[in-house]
């Protein structure tokens, strides 16, 4: 019997502490054949199991261009994520996916790309960033605007450093006022404001954003001011999910099922949805 | 009586004393009585009062109903039994007395369920609470509509619930256990009992707390038993026997039985009856050196 709710077993190969209560797991499929055949596209998500506690939904935070297993990044905030946070390297957890749609990278060939992320919204964007950087020649200018509440809350700190060092990426980092440390060299201010100051050109460009709902709302406004068309602004939505496959009935925003028709949407598509966020 | 009620409601809305009157009205097809929220003086004629006004509207005074609270100060059409719940809400600091205008309704009894109504209120279609009611003339109010009913409750309570409790008390514990496991096995975890109860006002119910998972949410015998027993315990010494949970249960679980039994137990142990004194705290939230310890075995 094909049980669509049955997860694959994964081994936790590595754990990175990203920020307070935020962790990244590197996961490898226990099933060798599956490890070879597994494929996904950037932007897709999965359901991750802490056995005995349940399942939680996060994006696949690693890019499909890195072929060794997958990574996920999550904040410890509830029963399942609390359980996952209690696991160690070598432990077993569950994964089912990949589910949902993806960022249309092939349509972006030759274009500039602006990434805007806030806090724990960076993981899905990070998958796109590495995917794009691994295919660097195919795209134009790359700008990354990333902010968090405080310096401590910035995730992927070592990768931020890598992007900062690269000559072919413009990285703007910011923290909310009051969140800076004495040695902070980045900007101080909210992401939408910092984005407007950075003023990336909208000509032949797309923008990819993810973060708290309120940030996304203002980022879309800021991008509009900068001249980005709604069709050129991409984001990934999240909602509470249980099945991930269009059955359990809770992730819908009006008539749109985030798990099946999303999670990746353009701002133009979002504006057509019922106001059910 | 309805005229006096409408007049009062109109007056309260007109002079701005209240912003909404929570009362009873007919549904559109005129087949059933349903809660109505009157915010305009010209709509007061929708208000009715008759033996089918079974709902305990005090649930709409709780913080579960933020939209209703947002309208402004309410007046509530309340029978004596409903007022008991308002008393508990005040005693438990969910409501200040001045936050609500109580339109007390003198009452001659209600039907157990609206579907039983065939045009006449006969004793056999009335719930046990009505047969023993000592608040047919309200005990806490801002005004009362109607005359004092002549009814005097019997010295010894009567009714099906008491008969059944006696029968259950005569059984041994395994018999009682089997009875309740069977009754609760039908539970579908729709939580109508909780949602309709004005004393179940927690914003996050224990069954929704999952760190740890106190109650298994599955509707299997174990989960059903732990849900129903936990809810009963949370109502011990607080429940006023309004009967809304049993009335609302889509699978006919006799919740009145378990609630009445706990009312009897708390009354015996603490000499406390819930719903009469808004200044008295329920026994389960106060400690007294005189509390009995005979339950420690």
């Amino acid at each position: 019997m094909n049980n669509i709710y049955l997860p694959h077993l994964m081994t936790i190969e590595d754990i990175y502490e990203e920020a307070p209560d935020v962790r990244t797991f590197s996961l490898a499929f226990k099933d060798r054949a599956l490890a070879d055949s597994f494929a996904f596209k950037t932007g897709q998500f999965g359901l991750y199991s802490a056995f005995g506690l349940g399942e939680s939904t996060f994006c696949i935070a690693s890019p499909p261009t890195r072929k060794h297993g997958i990574q996920c990044t999550f904040r410890k905030s509830g029963r399942v994520t609390g359980g996952l946070a209690g696991l160690s390297i070598g432990d077993t957890m569950g994964f089912r996916g990949p589910y949902g749609n993806w960022f249309p990278l092939d349509e972006w060939k030759g274009k500039d790309i602006v990434f805007i992320a806030g806090g724990i919204g960076l993981p899905p964007v990070r998958s796109v960033i590495w995917n794009v950087l691994d295919r660097r020649d195919e795209f134009g200018k790359i700008t990354i605007v990333y902010g968090a509440k405080t310096v401590a809350d910035l995730v992927y700190k070592s990768e931020l450093a890598l992007w900062d060092e690269r000559g072919d990426v413009t990285l703007v980092q910011t923290v909310d006022p009051g969140g800076e440390s004495p040695d902070w060299k980045g900007k101080i201010g909210f992401v939408p404001t910092v984005l407007e100051e950075a003023a990336p050109s909208p000509v032949n460009a797309v923008a990819v954003t993810c973060g708290p709902p309120i940030m996304i709302k203002f980022v879309i406004k800021a991008l509009g001011k900068l001249g980005f068309a709604d069709e050129a602004i991409y984001t990934t939505l999240e909602n509470k999910m249980k099945c991930g496959v269009g059955k359990c009935g809770r992730c819908n925003v009006g008539d749109v099922y985030i798990c099946k028709e999303g999670p990746v949407y353009t701002a133009a598509e979002i504006k057509k949805m019922y106001d059910d966020f | 009586m309805e005229n006096a009620l409408r007049k009062k409601a109109r007056e309260l809305l007109q002079n701005g004393e209240v912003k909404v009157v929570i009362g009873y009205g007919f549904n559109r097809r005129g087949t059933h009585v349903t809660p109505v929220f009157i915010t305009k003086p010209e709509d007061v004629d929708r208000l009715v009062f008759n033996p089918r006004c079974v709902n305990n509207l005090s649930v709409y005074l709780t913080r579960k109903f933020k939209d209703i609270r947002a309208i402004g100060r309410p007046a509530i059409v309340a029978k004596g039994c409903d007022i008991k719940n308002i008393v508990v809400l005040i005693a438990e600091a969910q409501l200040k007395r001045e936050d609500v205008y109580i339109i007390g309704m003198a009452c001659n009894g209600m039907v157990y369920r609206q579907e039983l109504w065939k045009g006449e209120l006969k004793p056999e279609i009335m719930p046990t609470k009505c047969h023993n009611c000592d608040v047919r003339y309200p005990h806490l109010y801002d005004c009362v509509i109607g005359d004092k009913p002549a009814f005097v409750p019997p010295d010894k309570p009567v009714g099906m619930v008491f008969d059944k409790i006696k029968a259950l008390d005569k059984m041994d514990s395994s018999g009682r256990w089997a009875f309740w496991v069977e009754e609760f096995s039908r539970c579908i975890k729709c939580y109508a009992c909780r949602q309709v109860c004005s004393l179940c006002y927690c914003e996050r119910c224990i069954t929704e707390k999952n760190m740890p998972q106190w109650i298994e949410t599955s509707a299997h015998p174990k989960g059903n038993l732990s849900w129903n027993l936990t809810r009963a315990m949370h109502l011990a010494g607080r429940c006023t026997f309004c009967g809304e949970c049993e009335r609302s249960c889509p699978v006919n679980i006799p919740l009145n039985l378990v609630n009445k039994k706990l009312i009897q137990v708390t009354e015996e142990a603490f000499d406390f009856r819930s719903g009469y004194d808004e200044k008295a705290h329920p026994p389960m939230i106060v400690f007294s050196p005189d509390d009995k310890e005979n339950f420690i075995k």
């Binding site: 019997m1 077993l9 | 349903t34 975890k189 699978v251």
Partner: protein, 337 residues
């Protein structure tokens, strides 16, 4: 073909014949002061003077709680086993034609791209015998949503009450196979069925128009929604008795070392249904939850699955502790410009 007849006294033979074949026979039966679908072993348990069973028979295809996998957490590994469902043949007797129409909606959602075999395996092994309605009440509104007391959607075999028994019509291949298998209990005589009960079509309500109105996003924030839903107490009685509601939860139960994963009915009316771990809740007030349920029935389902989201059985009206009547909302929605 309506040339068969089942005598009232032969229902017991039919039940025995079905059960001898290893299938369960589900029928309306009165227990605990109400008539509900349950498995019966003889005709004496089956009642006929009911309007509609209080539960919908969906629970025999989509149980309220079911184990989907089991797990054992060991020191170095996890033993995970998916449940291999052995669907038991099921005969649903005494379904009403309204609720039978709900199978199209359930089937659509459970097979939409990903196939939930827990549902499809059971459904494939289920025969629905509907008994056309000769009685109803003021909550019935099948005619308003385009159905009727002898509507055939989702029905394999239609029974119509007649003097001394039922006129039997085979409507699907599954139904024909069923009748063929138990042919000994049926008689080959035609008969005149009793008149049916047609609920009055509610004036001014047009489901097609409602769908159109709901497509206008301007109506999404119409003040009529909070007004209509104000009395809703947020329980799940309507969704759990509804034959088309399908929402569920997935939870783990057991100890830290051993347990099972279950698929449990859930209700969009519960406030934590859509609550994010962050505390954000897209449907944070009751009217938004109620609006979602209504739109799901009259807009999202018809659009997405080309199926009826509401079959007019009226269970949600009968069971509602505050008598929130969905037909009143339909009337209001029909009035929107």
């Amino acid at each position: 073909m309506t040339d068969l007849f089942l005598k009232t006294e032969d229902l017991g033979r039919l039940i025995a014949s079905v059960r001898d074949g290893g299938a369960r026979f589900i029928a309306p039966s009165t227990d605990a002061r109400q008539t509900a679908f349950k498995e019966v072993s003889g005709a004496d348990e089956v009642v006929s003077d009911y309007i509609l069973a209080t539960n919908s028979y969906k629970e025999f295809l989509f149980p309220q709680t079911e184990v989907i996998s089991t797990h054992k957490v060991m020191k170095d590994s996890v033993e995970l086993k998916g449940v291999e469902l052995e669907a038991q043949g099921t005969v649903i007797f005494g379904a009403r034609p309204c609720e039978a129409a709900s199978l199209a909606a359930l089937g659509a959602v459970f097979t939409w791209d990903f196939v939930d075999e827990f549902y499809t395996k059971r459904e494939a092994d289920t025969v629905v015998i509907a008994v056309a309605c000769t009685r109803g009440d003021d909550a019935c509104f099948c005619t308003t949503v385009g159905l009727s007391p002898d509507a055939t959607a989702g029905v394999d075999v239609m029974f119509k009450e007649a003097d001394g028994g039922w006129a039997v019509a085979r409507l699907t291949d599954k139904g024909s196979t069923f009748v063929e298998k138990h042919k000994d209990v049926f008689e080959k005589t035609a008969c005149a069925p009793k008149p049916l009960f047609y609920p009055e079509k509610i004036k001014g309500v047009d489901v097609e128009k409602i769908k159109e109105r709901l497509s206008n996003k301007g109506h999404y924030e119409d003040p009529v929604w909070p007004e209509l839903a104000r009395k809703c107490i947020g329980c799940g009685a309507c969704t759990f008795t509804c034959p088309t509601c399908h929402c569920f939860d997935i939870i783990d139960e057991g100890t830290a070392y051993e347990g099972e994963r279950r698929k449990n009915w859930d209700a969009c009316q519960f406030d934590h249904f859509t609550l994010h771990a962050s505390g954000h809740n897209p449907r944070d007030t009751q009217y938004k939850r109620w609006r979602n349920r209504f739109m799901c029935k009259f807009k999202f389902y018809p659009d997405k699955f080309s199926s009826k989201g509401c079959v007019g059985c009226g269970r949600c009206i009968r069971v509602c502790p505050v008598r929130l009547d969905i037909t009143e909302v339909m009337e209001e929605m029909s009035k929107l410009p």
